[in-house]
């Protein structure tokens, strides 16, 4: 039966019985029946913020989410030439170059290899690139929404490279996407053999088109741009290719006049997700909540300051605490109604502590913070309870 008819009939029945002996206030009506795909409650409307002159970015609404998994349709997007429409039946992964046996693998071939799954974040190296440009009325999404987390499933790249064999000088791989830009990045073979995954699934279903359908290279803990989407080709070579995205872009000019290249690891960062702009809080008890992660390993601790950095309080890490993964932290807080500044900083199990932005500027120079700006973020609590973004430098 069509859903509309079903509802109409039910309403008609209800009306009849109502006439007999019941008041409308006590009568309940069945809701719609099962559907083939669910949707969000009509009362909930989390959305990505679109950004960029060519609408090349969609930012995750971190302030609206709970737990550690980003719903797939809210995972941030960044692309250089739009989202290609790829028929998986006609899509292959080619592995060639300095290998003994070049391979052409269909999606079905890839699914027949031993599968692995892992939960990890993907963060754009340019996350927080507008740290210094944003005004007080900036949401967490707008300043730091280029990080998201999924469970990724696929086959280990090392399993595939074992099939092809690697020649003696195999030091680098070129990963190429099938978007219109044919985006390319050079990846050290060391990482490929360590924990790289050729992913075909995200949060239990096929990868979303904007996330790389049907195949994505997943390099846990490394900058998002290197996790090449719509992956079609891996060429093995003895040196990096020096593509535009690893020379002109995604490089860090330093104060000493050099340029740091292949800075792939995403350093530890934490962000408070609540309370943040545009929340308004009342006096009394609240829970300060947030996310912390590190490309080097697990989060060991997250500290919060509720007085602009004079004192730092340890927070509770909410399990699971996974390597190279967004980790929840929280701490109860009683707001006394006075204006103050909220900060958070993460430390990972490699012993790295998220720096203040001044420390990063002193070490690298402010112009270098276009990429890899993992400095502490601040949220100003005004005496009326309104929360605003604040540049802490």
């Amino acid at each position: 039966m069509k859903r509309r008819h079903f509802l109409k009939n039910m309403t008609a029945l209800g009306t009849t019985s109502l006439l007999v002996n019941q008041s409308l206030a006590e009568t309940r009506f069945p809701g719609p029946p099962a559907s083939t795909t669910g949707t969000r409650s009509s009362y909930e409307n989390p959305q990505k913020t679109l950004y960029g002159q060519m609408q090349t970015h969609g930012l995750t609404p971190l302030q609206d989410l709970h737990g550690i998994i980003t719903p797939s349709d809210l995972h941030f997007e960044r692309h250089h030439s739009g989202i290609p429409d790829i028929n998986p039946e006609q899509h292959y992964l080619y592995i060639h170059g300095l290998v003994d046996k070049p391979l052409k693998l269909s999606i079905n071939d890839l699914k027949r290899f031993p599968s692995v799954s892992r939960i990890c974040f993907i963060e754009c190296a340019g996350n927080c690139q507008d740290y210094f440009k944003k005004g007080p009325e900036t949401s967490l999404q707008q300043v730091a929404g280029m990080t998201s987390q999924s469970e990724w499933t696929g086959v280990r790249l090392s399993t595939l490279l074992r099939e092809t064999g690697l020649r003696k000088n195999a030091n680098w791989l070129l990963a190429e996407g099938e978007d219109a830009a044919l985006l390319t990045r050079s990846i050290p073979v060391e990482k490929a053999m360590d924990d790289a995954i050729i992913a075909y699934a995200q949060n239990g279903e096929a990868i979303r088109p904007e996330q790389g359908y049907p195949l994505r290279l997943l390099l846990p803990g490394w900058e998002g741009s290197s996790c090449v989407k719509w992956l079609r080709r891996l060429e093995v070579g003895d040196q990096p290719w020096m593509t535009r995205e690893e020379t002109v872009k995604y490089t860090d000019p330093l104060k000493d006049g050099s340029v740091r290249q292949f800075s792939m690891i995403m350093d530890a960062r934490s962000v408070i997700t609540a309370p943040t702009y545009p929340h308004q809080i009342e006096k009394g008890w609240h829970e300060i909540r947030g996310l912390a992660w590190s490309g080097r390993g697990k989060i060991k601790k997250v500290e919060v300051s509720t007085d602009g950095g004079s004192h730092w309080l340890p927070t509770q890490l909410q399990g699971p605490v996974l390597s190279q993964a967004h980790t929840r932290f929280n701490i109860p807080w009683q707001w006394n109604g006075n204006e103050t500044l909220l900060l958070s900083r993460a430390t990972d199990d490699a012993g790295y502590t998220q720096p203040m932005v001044q420390t990063l500027i002193a070490a690298r120079g402010i112009g270098s913070l276009r990429y890899h700006n993992n400095g502490v973020l601040g949220w100003r609590v005004k005496s009326d309870g309104r929360i605003y973004y604040e540049i802490v430098a």
Binding site: Q53, M54, H80, S81, Y92, Y94, H96, P102, L103, K104, L105, D109, R112, F113, P114, V116, S117, C120, R156, T159, R162, E163, E176, A180, A181, L182, L183, T184, R233, E235, Q239, W241, M242, T243, R244, T247, V248, T251, P253, K255, G257, S258, V259, R260, Q261, F262, S263, M264, I265, L322, S323, P355, T359, L360, A363, R364, G365, I366, G367, S368
Partner: protein, 202 residues
């Protein structure tokens, strides 16, 4: 008989416990777990791609020139192609367009990109390899029709943009020999991130 079954079951259980014990650190450290099963020598999946298939896909170019196609071009030809296919987005002579600024030079020894209000990064002041320019233009430009340029057109456009950036003279003919021989002004500044090895943190 049943006693024996029981006993072997116990032994098996013991083994499982022992295996579990030894595997535990791996399970604890890696989300993917360790594999209980050895992989065969080969899974025998996939096919061998043909040379022609690979040649059609493999268009990448390295700094040493590997991958550069036959063909040639100079700034003179490049100028008219640029005006027709690139200028609407990148502006007259590579400046003042709605998209990336392609031309800009700095005096020798000046490199203010880590400073506040740094100039825009351009081919003339930041790009470390000339080969990257050929690869990127042929791969990704023009933005709305990547893949539409011939190799001669790409050599010509590369030459024109290098000429506008004062890196080569107007009449220099670029081909698979002359392009990789160009040293870009910022080339010597690029260093691999070695923080994990050097112990430097930030």
């Amino acid at each position: 008989m049943s006693v024996q079954l029981c006993r072997s079951a116990k032994t098996a259980l013991g083994l499982v416990v022992i295996i579990f014990f030894f595997c535990r650190p791996a399970f604890a450290d890696s989300q993917e777990g360790s594999s209980l099963h050895e992989h065969p020598e080969s899974f025998g999946l996939g096919t061998s791609p043909t040379e022609a298939e690979l040649a059609a896909l493999d268009t990448d170019i390295r700094p040493d020139g590997k991958g550069l196609p036959k063909g040639q071009g100079s700034a003179r030809e490049g100028k008219s192609i640029y005006e027709l296919k690139c200028q609407q987005c990148h502006g007259l002579e590579g400046e003042g367009g709605i998209n990336d600024k392609l031309v800009g030079t700095l005096k020798d020894g000046i490199f203010p990109f880590a400073e506040k209000d740094a100039p825009k990064k351009t081919i003339g002041n930041y790009w470390p390899y000339a080969t990257t320019l050929f690869d990127y233009i042929r791969r990704t430009m023009p933005y709305t029709q990547p893949g539409s340029l011939t190799d001669d057109e790409t050599y010509s456009l590369t030459a024109y943009l290098l000429y506008l950036n004062k890196i080569i003279p107007e009449d220099r003919v670029l081909n698979s020999d002359t392009l990789p021989a160009i040293t870009m002004p910022a080339h010597h500044r690029f260093k691999n991130d070695n923080r994990t090895r050097s112990g430097q943190v930030l």
